[in-house]
Symmetry: C2
DNA sequence: GCCATCATGTAATCTGTTACATGATTAT
DNA sequence: ATAATCATGTAACAGATTACATGATGGC
């Protein structure tokens, strides 16, 4: 029952080639960083247990002027274990989405505050989308003829779809928020019905 | 700098009304469950510290035949603390997306396995989208005239945008995968290792 | 009789991050 | 000088889930 995802992440990375703990960290940062990451505190102890469990082997490469490299390689059992996990249906855990939580309680603050929040979020997503497009280009050039390329591109596309949808959501949300400010704040001669009934202004001195 | 998100989640929930730990769990499950959740192991200890920190107060309601209810209410300081958090920009942590990780290593298994994986994922998203549409309807009816409604709807819309984008991504990905099966129907190449990065090939015999 | 709901909470465990310790080399 | 890169790892701390303990009521 104990399904340590980090374990499979590392098995997966090792399926791409023999690597050291240091390499693994770098590879995570340079490829899957958009949807996965591991810290040294996870990687090194896990590599040790993989060897103990017979899922990987370790060999040491001496180097001059640099520390030894401990290079890990998948065993056949390791690859089997990975494949077993790859084919079973991914379970979706409810990730914690901070922007949604903040907006859920948006009525506690001013609409302008929420607007600022969403605008900032939109800016971040904009950059992210640009980065993903750049990554896609780079990968197509660097990994041309690499059999992993189509799979890698699928994950990049995942990120692009998500980011694009988020940008759309930002637009929609900002337009809702701006009509809300228009109604409550500005030229508000008389608000017909859905006025601000429950909106009690908490006037408290900032202390 | 220690920013315990759970703390703000609970402060936020309490901003909607006075609640017991049990209520809070139920409320999480029935509203924000799509993007946030808390377990009793978090809630009860946190409620205690909120009282100690002066961010909430506790009152006890006796009941007949049932255990006492410990009902918590936000203090003004608690509300200030919440608002302080609400207005600061949400930082996006890189959530771990299992389906993306599995697909990233998709080359290790058969394309048919990946297709099954994505189809299952698509089915889950389909249900989710239906659920979100139902939730939207229910909320519009139940929370009509509740000032929180627009904010709640924004988070529902968030989920809808995400889910819809995921469904699109599934279609795209499935079509890529199916063209891949069409191509490789003959020789099933078994690639053992090497390559993804340093693929050093030096002198090769001519020919 | 058995299970679900109401309602509190704790303890054990797991998972993950951050900071630290070491130490040579190379680039600014 | 000093920072970054290479490279190993551990220890301390956060954060979160699960299982457990307790115990009454009410429905099937």
């Amino acid at each position: 029952m104990k399904e340590n995802k980090s374990k499979y992440a590392i098995l997966g990375i090792l399926s791409l080639g023999s690597l050291s703990g240091y390499d693994i960290k770098k590879l995570f940062q340079g490829s899957v960083a958009n949807f996965w990451n591991e810290s040294y505190g996870q990687i090194y102890p896990l590599l040790r247990t993989l060897v103990i469990e017979g899922l990987a082997t370790r060999s040491i490469e001496r180097q001059v002027g640099k520390p030894d490299r401990h290079v890990y390689s998948l065993t056949d059992r390791g690859r089997d274990e990975l494949c077993r996990w790859l084919i079973e249906p991914a379970k979706d855990q409810i990730g914690r989405i901070e922007i949604a939580l903040k907006l859920f309680f948006g009525h506690q603050v001013k609409a302008a505050d929420n607007i600022r929040q969403v605008e900032h979020f939109r800016e971040m997503r904009g950059r992210e989308l640009q980065a993903l497009i750049a990554i896609e280009k780079r990968l197509k050039a660097e990994l041309a003829s690499n059999p992993n390329l189509p799979y890698v591109l699928m994950t990049v596309s995942y990120g692009q779809h998500m980011t694009q949808a988020l940008l759309q959501w930002c637009e929609e949300t900002l337009s809702v928020l701006s009509t809300m400010t228009a109604k409550t704040k500005k030229g508000n001669k008389r608000v017909t019905k859905q006025s601000v009934r429950g909106k009690k202004r908490r006037s408290r001195p900032s202390q």
